[in-house]
Symmetry: none
Subunit: 268 residues, 2 copies
Amino acid sequence: MEPKRSKEASGGSGRPRGRVFAFPPSPQRGVALYLQVADQLRGRIDSGELAPGDQLPPEVELADGFGVSRHTVRQALRHLRDRGYLASRQGKGSTVRDRKRGLQVNPVIGSINDLVQFASETVLKPVSVVEEPAGAEVAELLDLEPERSRVVRINGLRCERDGAVFGYTKVYVPVELAKGLRAETIHSVPIYAQVERNSGIEVAGVEQRISAGGADEELVEHLGLEPHEPVLKISRLYYATGGAPVEFAESFHPPSAFEYVIHLRKGF
Amino acid sequence: MEPKRSKEASGGSGRPRGRVFAFPPSPQRGVALYLQVADQLRGRIDSGELAPGDQLPPEVELADGFGVSRHTVRQALRHLRDRGYLASRQGKGSTVRDRKRGLQVNPVIGSINDLVQFASETVLKPVSVVEEPAGAEVAELLDLEPERSRVVRINGLRCERDGAVFGYTKVYVPVELAKGLRAETIHSVPIYAQVERNSGIEVAGVEQRISAGGADEELVEHLGLEPHEPVLKISRLYYATGGAPVEFAESFHPPSAFEYVIHLRKGF
DNA sequence: TAGTGGTCTAGACCACGGC
DNA sequence: CCGTGGTCTAGACCACTAC
């Protein structure tokens, strides 16, 4: 017994005790233990120390190595499994999965939170920000008058936090809703979130259409592709509670750098 | 202590002891306790006894009512949360979600049932059915031994009921699971459904990866595309309850003929 | 038979939300 | 301050896989 530890963080933080898989410098306080464990493992995966196909040590061994209980290790593994990093099979073990950069729509529900999560893990590096008349297609989608209505268009590179580019995005926002858009925060704060905050309009949903296309000059230039090279095209229409469109975005991704993963499970 | 229970099922099954939320008739043996708890709760939700917006009893109370530990209750709640039935907030409690609206309805494909629906509305016109050794990639995905294991491969055209072709599909099934596959029914009965029926294995989920690629000779021939023309590529890995892969399928669609639409709505 | 993940219990402290 | 979900420990048995 005696689960006492006189803790300070959520549920307590760890004290190094194990060996091989222990926390290197010092466990962060204030962060859930299982997240620290998951981060450690994810780091080993991202760094290539654990390659796709590799088998993880048994849970009990991990628990011992990290100096945590097996339950905590399992929580960490579940976290990584949910995010596509691992696969586990009873009686066999857990193995590292091949995970391209991509949007994971998880368990069954693709909630908008997945999108938020995804956006917060990536960076939009603006290439151009212009105000212009809405073209026919954009006007149609945003419920504006073609040519007469004006939109703010933001083109930029989709990057990982480490700078790796995995896509090119064009975002269209009606000028009226783009008032408070700050160029300085575009790279880190999702545009739809800024629009939400500035306009008071709440984004209630997103309609995504996934298709394929060939690279045009713009993509060739910014993504270093060959002309007409196949790219994954994802267009998103954000709309407010009443159904009014708020923002339209098109993203283009080289298939080698991005994959859209959807998990469907048999419902009840 | 004394966690002994001399059980027969996985981790033991429950014995009615609680009151309000106890198991009515008799808990099924052989089914995980947390699934039985989840089923009970889901029943109350589906029947309307627990309506959207309603708050669930606290976890400790549920645990007491069902006569299980809080951990088991939490596992059940997580199960339901993952499936869009519930939302939980620290300090507040768990509430029933409006699953109709809260879940992204996907006009094309959204849950596994939509996939069934989709498959039943379309036709697979077989071009070739062959038995062959599993290649490296397919063996990896289906958890088979490369070259030694054999698979049945079915290539065919995806058509609307009216005959319009909108894609090309390659399906791989381990020979052991393909025994009862009848060529005559391939066009109308989804292959995974036939595998299910013949093998007794139940498909529990599907992992879909959406990407883009260029048309190869096979696609040029059967879909009438230009070489290297961009196509939408969707790979599906069907797996059974334990996670064992059952079937792998690759579909290729010209962007002009097929679009993947996903609708996300703001949950809590 | 041994190893590994899956399930379960009993009990405890912490953080958040509202009173 | 209290109630509720979130996290964590320690220990145990079961089921599936492979040897």
